[in-house]
């Protein structure tokens, strides 16, 4: 390529890029108020649900407004879930007094309810057990693997989604520490 050709191409490329850069905020403004859309992704508002406990009580996510909530989808056949949940219980014991709540949603539509409830009681988990009988809530949360943990802030927005064993007690503690410091 001749020097002159290169300079012409380089300057045109730069001018086009600069124009595009300047036009970006005008043509494609970031839409604010995105969190009015419910989606299981950080930055959106967490999809609401109302599910039964084994005792017949109905719990809704909206009941916990103003509190940080961890929603975890799990099943009794899921070994990773069973390895993850005891850690969550220890966090729950330390942080429940500060308003933290865990909602353990059993994917009952693909699990044995009896095995699940027996396991849950054996382990003496103190957070609520919720029954997702038709899989609608799991579907709202686009759950495609277990466990799926969704951390929801006091304002009802999704803060973090972790699939698999990643929601360890250490991670949850560090997130809650940040969250509860911000609150104060």
């Amino acid at each position: 390529m001749k020097k002159k050709t290169f300079i012409i191409i380089a300057i045109s490329v730069l001018l086009v890029s600069l124009t595009w850069f300047v036009l970006t905020p005008l043509l494609f403004p970031s839409t604010s108020g995105e969190s009015t859309i419910a989606a299981p992704y950080p930055g959106f508002s967490a999809p609401n649900f109302s599910l039964n406990t084994p005792g017949g009580q109905v719990l809704s996510l909206s009941d916990y407004e103003g509190q940080p909530v961890l929603v975890i989808f799990w099943a009794s056949w899921c070994s990773v879930c069973k390895r993850t949940m005891p850690g969550l219980q220890t966090v729950y014991e330390d942080y429940a007094s500060r308003g933290f709540e865990i909602l353990a949603i059993n994917t009952t539509y693909q699990d044995s309810y009896l095995t699940a409830i027996n396991y849950f009681e054996e382990q003496n988990y103190t957070f609520p057990f919720l029954i997702d009988e038709d899989g609608l809530t799991a579907s709202d949360y686009k759950t495609h693997a277990l466990p799926t943990s969704v951390l929801i802030g006091p304002d009802g927005d999704v803060l973090d989604v972790v699939i698999g064993s990643g929601m360890s007690d250490a991670l949850l503690r560090s997130k809650l520490d940040q969250l509860l410091v911000d609150e104060n």
Partner: protein, 411 residues
């Protein structure tokens, strides 16, 4: 969107797998490219793998430095096997530093190495967009366009696909430019790398406009602004390396003759010093013809370092003219009145017609390695970074080399 793959205690998300795959394929292609360029592919691969390993460990340590209370209360949790609890910036920093230090300690030459890395960079760029698609990360603004995809509650610009398609375009350009990995496509090392990074910046400037969650400071998207600066830097660097005339280019030339060699080498040197400034001159070495075997007469060889401002094509034309003055019969390998081979052209790595620079014979034959180590003991192979001592030691050619006569250095 994409399924999860469980391996032991790890639930590997498709996104992670895509990234690992793109690194793997990119490294493989980079290795092939390194082989044809003569750059040190093994050292390069080791530096990158070590950088990756240290980067992952660094990312975990970074996370705990950020959250000291969590760590002090539960020190064992640092070993948790999961792709969470990672501090990306700290990981990137430690990983890149490790790779750089390893590369530096092995004397990998900067620009040829960066050129070699281009396929890996393009694969990573494409892989990152595919991984974002799998995760639903970096999603686009809502749109009514027919190719919008339903994501997070509404139809959106498929930004990840825009980036992926343009990245594939860049890959096609790359394969075209390197004619399937046989050359760099440019005389000057670094131009392939600079044009690739310019391409990536250009794509990023374009696609960032459609991203929903921009990183804004005063209405300006920071990654877009950074890409604009990188594009500017790349174009400027390209211009400097490609078009700004270099005045003192060092060129090593191997001279050989087996027809009146004593006389011819002296005459050749005269003609060369009339046209160029001669920097260094080796002794004359007597060797058997390594290519034609016993049948032909012995060769006298000498290496000369000259200084020139000429472009490579011009230089090769000048040397051909000198060769023709000695009536070299093209194709007759038995009787050579004068043979001039350019061994290196500054630090550049490229291929011009059938000539590879640096000449692969440097690492093949003693009649080049020996005189080179005599006049330039500090010489490092411009592509692989190997020292001349290492090249001599590992030279597969074991033929006998004798000093023909001592000449005074410099003349």
């Amino acid at each position: 969107m994409f399924p999860i793959i469980e391996i032991g205690p790890l639930a590997v998300q498709a996104a992670g797998l895509i990234l690992i795959l793109s690194i793997w394929v990119g490294l493989w292609i980079t290795g092939k490219f390194a082989k044809s360029l003569g750059t040190n592919g093994d050292v390069l691969e080791n530096s990158i793998l070590l950088g990756l390993l240290v980067g992952v460990i660094g990312a975990r340590i970074g996370f705990f430095l950020q959250n000291p209370e969590t760590f002090l209360a539960r020190p064992l949790s640092i070993f948790t096997l999961s792709p969470t609890m990672l501090n990306t910036s700290f990981g990137l920093l430690t990983g890149v530093l490790t790779a750089l230090i390893t590369a530096q300690r092995n004397h990998l030459p900067l620009w040829p190495t960066l050129d070699t890395l281009t396929p890996l960079i393009i694969f990573l760029f494409g892989g990152l967009h595919l991984a974002n698609l799998a995760n639903g990360d970096q999603f686009g603004l809502p749109t009514q366009l027919p190719w919008g995809i339903l994501l997070w509650g509404t139809n959106r610009h498929p930004v990840q696909i825009y980036g992926l398609l343009l990245g594939i375009g860049l890959l096609i350009w790359f394969f075209f430019k390197t004619s399937q990995l046989k050359q760099t496509g440019y005389f000057q090392s670094g131009l392939l790398f600079l044009s690739t990074i310019a391409g990536i910046s250009l794509i990023t400037i374009f696609t960032r406009a459609f991203i929903e969650q921009k990183i804004l400071i005063a209405m300006i998207d920071i990654p877009q602004l950074l890409s604009l600066f990188i594009l500017l830097g790349c174009l400027f660097g390209f211009y400097k390396r490609r078009y700004q005339p270099q005045k003192h280019i060092s060129v090593f030339i191997s001279m050989g003759s087996n027809l009146n060699p004593q006389e011819n080498l002296v005459l050749a040197l005269e003609q060369i010093s009339a046209m160029f400034k001669v920097r260094r001159l080796s002794s004359i070495y007597l060797t058997k013809d390594v290519k034609a075997g016993e049948k032909s007469a012995d060769f006298l060889n000498q290496i000369i370092e000259i200084e020139t401002a000429n472009t490579f094509p011009k230089l090769i034309k000048q040397l051909k003219t000198i060769e023709q003055n000695f009536k070299r019969l093209p194709g007759n390998k038995r009787k050579v009145s004068l043979d001039l081979d350019i061994l290196t052209y500054d630090g550049h790595v490229f291929k011009y017609h059938s000539i590879s620079i640096p000449d692969p014979d440097i690492e093949r034959y003693r009649y080049i390695a020996e005189p080179l180590s005599e006049i330039a003991p500090d010489f490092r192979h411009p592509a692989s970074g190997r020292s001349i001592q290492e090249i001599s030691e590992k030279c597969p050619d074991k033929s006998e080399i004798k000093l023909s006569e001592e000449v005074e250095n410099g003349s």
